[in-house]
């Protein structure tokens, strides 16, 4: 169940990103076609809204017969996990078989076998624990280092190409870099957790391979263990060492801790051979070895594996695809779920005359009042405002709660927690300080912030932005960090 939930969430994340990328302009501007009506969406949290939308999208794409990217990613993950386990198990088995070699004349070198089969895997456990315990964001592990290096390279390339790349290409490169950073911000911890889990899975199966092969070898063949040392270590020293190592199981399984007789009786001098050594001492070591493998290898690895899975699960559920697109999407989903027929507001009664003048008609049936506000740049001519209001409320499907005329540089002063539409003139390219103001506003409000582009009065139709201006503004916004403002615009008219 836990596995299923975790897997399902990974698939949800992948599918959500995929469906969002397929929507192109719609989640941003809500244009062309209504959003699915999701019952009670107005009471949902953002995550619930997104899940409900995902469900609808999945249902709609069932007919296509193509597996969704989420299933593909899960399939790939399963293959990765399976192959990792298999390869690690095989490696463990090979290592074990390589070490446990006895042909009747030379016994298995006990210290050597202990070092390879127990000590080295245990060292990796300790290192992993060190990484887990002392991991800090400013001590990046290999993944972060790689990403950091890649980012630095990209920065270097961008800087280097800065003078030679044409402006638009440079902008596109900045957008790609920004997308990578956004992806990293959202999913880097999750990717790291997946990698950590894969490493732990590999580690566990490596040790499992060693353990099982050891057990099979001991059961199915005649193994003799003996120790030797050029340093002429005293058996008493070794006895104390093994006694210490056997502490975890000494009290409930004392037979698996070698005594001094066994240690002395299994000491081999190569020039004398093993003919004079008692056979029971040579064989008795398997109990100690199997307990050491279990206690210092398999069990810690198992716990690390469980920890890695727990961490992965935690990360998966902590990963929330919160960005401008999802906020905009949630806004429109809630809009589509709100029942009509609320009391008409001032703006609901707004009527725009042919001359673009705003009047109010008590009898007029119009859209309900939405939760959003409209801020119109004070540089936009008065005669344009009526037409703008009509267009914007028709696009958003509701009338604004309030309308303000604002100076762009005064925007950060507001911090209303409502979705905002800011009508701005876009016939001049945005300068850095304008972009900073809008980005700051978007960050403060934590709500969707749309920019409604306004063109020149001479445009056809009047105040319509040119496709070129839309492209410039859209790309400038795309190079801003999340949460960023979104530009209303017809993608079909852009390059």
């Amino acid at each position: 169940m836990i596995f299923h939930q975790t897997y399902q969430k990974i698939a949800d994340l992948v599918d959500l990103e995929w469906f969002l990328s397929q929507e192109t302009d719609r989640p941003v501007s809500g244009k062309d076609g209504a959003f699915p009506v999701i019952e009670a969406a107005s009471d949902f949290s953002d995550q619930e809204c997104l899940l409900a939308w995902l469900k609808v999208q999945r249902g709609a794409s069932l007919g296509a017969g193509e597996p969704l990217p989420g299933s593909k990613v899960l399939f790939s993950l399963n293959i990765l996990f399976f192959l990792t386990s298999l390869v690690a198990f095989g490696m463990g088995a090979v290592i074990s078989l390589g070490v446990l070699h006895y042909d009747g004349s030379l016994p298995v070198n006990l210290l050597y076998a202990f070092a390879i089969l127990v000590f080295l895997p245990f060292t990796t456990v300790l290192l992993t624990l060190l990484v887990v315990l002392f991991y800090r964001k400013n001590i990046p592990p290999a993944y972060s280092l790689l990403l950091y290096g890649f980012r630095r390279l990209l920065d270097f390339m961008l800087h280097g190409m800065g003078s030679s790349l044409p402006g638009e290409k440079r902008q596109n490169a900045m957008i790609r870099k920004r997308k990578m950073e956004d992806f990293s911000r959202k999913y880097a911890p999750l990717v790291r957790s997946v990698l950590f889990f894969v490493f732990q899975l590999g580690g566990f199966f490596l040790v499992a391979g060693i353990f099982i092969t050891f057990f099979i070898k001991v059961t199915g063949s005649d193994l003799a263990f003996a120790w030797q040392s050029t340093l002429n270590i005293r058996p008493e020293t070794l006895a104390r060492l093994f006694e210490t190592l056997g502490t975890p199981w000494r009290f409930f399984f004392p037979e698996a801790v070698p005594d001094l007789d066994q240690i002395e009786g299994s000491r081999i001098f190569l020039k004398d051979g093993i003919a004079d050594l008692p056979g029971e001492h040579l064989a008795a070591w398997w109990l100690f070895m199997i307990m050491a493998l279990l206690v210092y290898g398999l069990l810690p690895r198992f716990f690390l594996l469980v920890f890695a899975f727990w961490q992965l699960r935690k990360r998966v559920f902590a990963t929330i695809p919160d960005d401008s697109r999802t906020r905009a999407l949630c806004f429109f989903l809630r809009q589509s779920a709100v029942p009509h027929g609320k009391e008409k507001s001032f703006w609901e009664r707004s009527v725009v005359s042919e001359k673009g003048v705003l009047t109010h008609d008590e009898k007029r049936e119009t859209v309900f009042e939405g939760p959003w506000e409209l801020w119109i740049s004070d540089e936009i001519p008065e005669d344009a405002k009526g037409v703008l209001l009509q267009k914007i409320q028709s696009r958003l499907g509701s009338a604004p709660k309030r309308v303000f005329s604002v100076d762009l540089q005064g925007l950060p002063g507001f911090s209303g927690l409502v979705p905002l539409v800011v009508a701005l003139e876009v016939f001049m390219p945005p300068v850095l300080e304008d972009l900073q103001v809008l980005q700051e506003l978007s960050e403060k409000s934590r709500m969707p912030l749309w920019i409604w582009p306004v063109g020149l009065p001479e445009a056809l139709p009047p105040y319509a932005p040119t496709p070129e201006d839309l492209v410039i503004w859209r790309k400038k916004f795309e190079s801003l960090p999340e949460p960023r403002p979104l530009l209303f615009g017809n993608a079909q008219h852009e390059k």
Binding site: P166, M428, P429, V431
Partner: protein, 466 residues
């Protein structure tokens, strides 16, 4: 030429994408300057020299657009009491050198330290906005000599009164300059109007303007020479080739015609390339197409040759040889034959040599080809061909002088003839030159006169470029 006058540095500033680089590109005739509809193309300030006739006195400094004008203005207003002019600029640079938000402003302000004056470029086809006013106010508070250049980017020149009003309040002079249509005269006018920005500049600018005018004349004369030389070469151009069999003559003629066309095109290409260099167009590189030869009389001549001799020469030689040999008989007869033998033999020899080679087929002697048909294409009898080449060169010339260096498209010619710029008398003179060249009798006096005529024509074209 050695510079004796101090250099003038003019910084070109403005909002992003207003056409600053276009203005600089057109002014200094440098089509390598990055110009694009995408804002922020200019990332670093860069100096571009104006080089009339190799003389460098004026540098235009292209800068990135203001990115934080309101905040910069706020800062300047807060600090204008403490310092002014270049000191205020230095103070700004010290304060904001490490601030990425003011990177472009610092880039612009750095140039002010060496700047003689500032050109503020605006696209006056859009409404005036608060950001523009902030930029103007910055420049006003800094107090450098400054001039506003209204660059109507979309060539409509639909200039709003509110712009003029705002600009006049803040600038010593306001000048309209369309970087996408300005020619030599407009450039000279802009440079002259710089004097109104600062009277001290007059003494510095006047020699530059004079040099520019001289240089322009020289360029027109060089162009005239180049074009006329091309026309003369085309008029006298011919190619020759050999055909083995008479039956292969049509095919060989076709090949030679193609070679002739290629030759003409090669000459045109070379001439066009030089013309582009004269007017400093490096990236605008139109290539002449092949001439259209419908109903065109390319003079073609074919002659049979044996031992390198034509049939007439061969007949003379054959007749002479036979006559000399037969003269022995006449001598032996002691003159009784009255030389008739020699005469008859000579006639037979000449007749055989001439008529015997009628079929013009290849003859071989010991495996070596000793005869064949020589084909000649050109010089053209059809006078329209050199005129066509002249017209195409005039078209290119017109494109080069009307095409500003800020233009980045590759469209070239207006589909019309430019020969009407030549008056009847001038056409007759050029006609004489072409005719004498096609006959292979070039006359230096005619040529010199032709240069002068064409120079007059090009000057007229340049003056009436619209």
């Amino acid at each position: 030429m050695k510079n004796k006058l101090p250099a003038i540095y003019l910084t070109v500033v403005g909002h992003p994408n207003e056409g600053k680089s276009s203005v600089v590109s057109t002014l200094v005739e440098d089509d390598a300057i990055l110009v694009s509809p995408w804002p922020g193309e200019t990332r670093e300030s860069e100096e571009y020299p104006l080089r009339p006739g190799g003389l460098v006195h004026i540098f235009f400094i292209d800068t990135p657009g203001f990115q934080s004008p309101r905040r910069t203005l706020e800062w300047i207003r807060a600090h204008e009491e403490k310092a002014g002019g270049k000191d205020l600029v230095r103070f700004f640079l010290e304060t904001h050198a490490a601030d990425p938000d003011f990177k472009d402003e610092c880039g612009i302000f750095e140039t002010f330290l060496k700047s003689t004056g500032i050109l503020y470029v605006v696209d006056a086809t859009r409404p005036l906005r608060k950001g523009d006013l902030a930029e103007m106010e910055i420049l006003r508070l800094l107090g450098f000599p400054r001039m506003a250049v209204m660059n109507p980017k979309n060539t409509k020149e639909d200039l709003a009164e509110e712009w003029k009003l705002a600009l006049r309040k803040n600038f010593n002079a306001v000048h309209v300059f369309n970087a996408l249509s300005a020619g030599f005269a407009e450039r000279i006018r802009l440079l002259s109007s710089l004097q109104s920005m600062d009277p001290d500049l007059e003494d510095l600018l006047q020699p530059v303007i004079e040099t520019m005018k001289r240089d322009w004349k020289e360029r027109l004369f060089l162009s005239a020479r180049l074009i006329l030389d091309l026309v003369e070469k085309v008029a006298s151009f011919r190619v020759t080739g050999k055909a083995g069999q008479r039956s292969s003559i049509p095919q060989k003629t076709g090949e030679l015609t193609q070679d002739w066309l290629e030759g003409i095109r090669g000459m045109e290409k070379e001439s066009w390339s030089t013309l582009r260099e004269i007017f400093r167009h490096r990236f605008f590189a139109p290539v002449p197409g092949f001439l259209t030869l419908e109903d065109t009389d390319l003079f073609s001549r074919e002659s049979f040759r044996i031992f390198g001799l034509s049939r007439a020469q061969l007949a003379t030689l054959g007749g002479g040889t036979a006559a000399v040999l037969a003269a022995g008989v006449d001598l032996a007869l002691g003159g009784a034959s009255l030389g008739l033998v020699s005469l008859t033999a000579g006639a037979i020899g000449a007749g055989w040599a001439y008529w015997g080679t009628r079929n013009a087929d290849t003859r071989r002697l010991a495996g070596i080809q000793i005869s064949g048909v020589e084909l000649v294409i050109g010089p053209v009898r059809d006078i329209r061909i050199p005129w066509m080449v002249l017209d195409r060169s005039l078209m290119l010339f017109h494109t080069l002088i009307t095409r500003p260096h800020a233009a980045r498209d590759q469209s070239i010619f207006e589909n019309k003839s430019f020969l009407h710029y030549l008056e009847n008398k001038e056409q007759r003179k050029i006609f004489s030159l072409i005719t004498s060249a096609s006959k292979g009798e070039p006359r230096d006096s005619l040529r010199e006169e032709g240069y002068q005529i064409l120079f007059q024509v090009l000057t007229r074209m340049a003056d009436q470029k619209k």
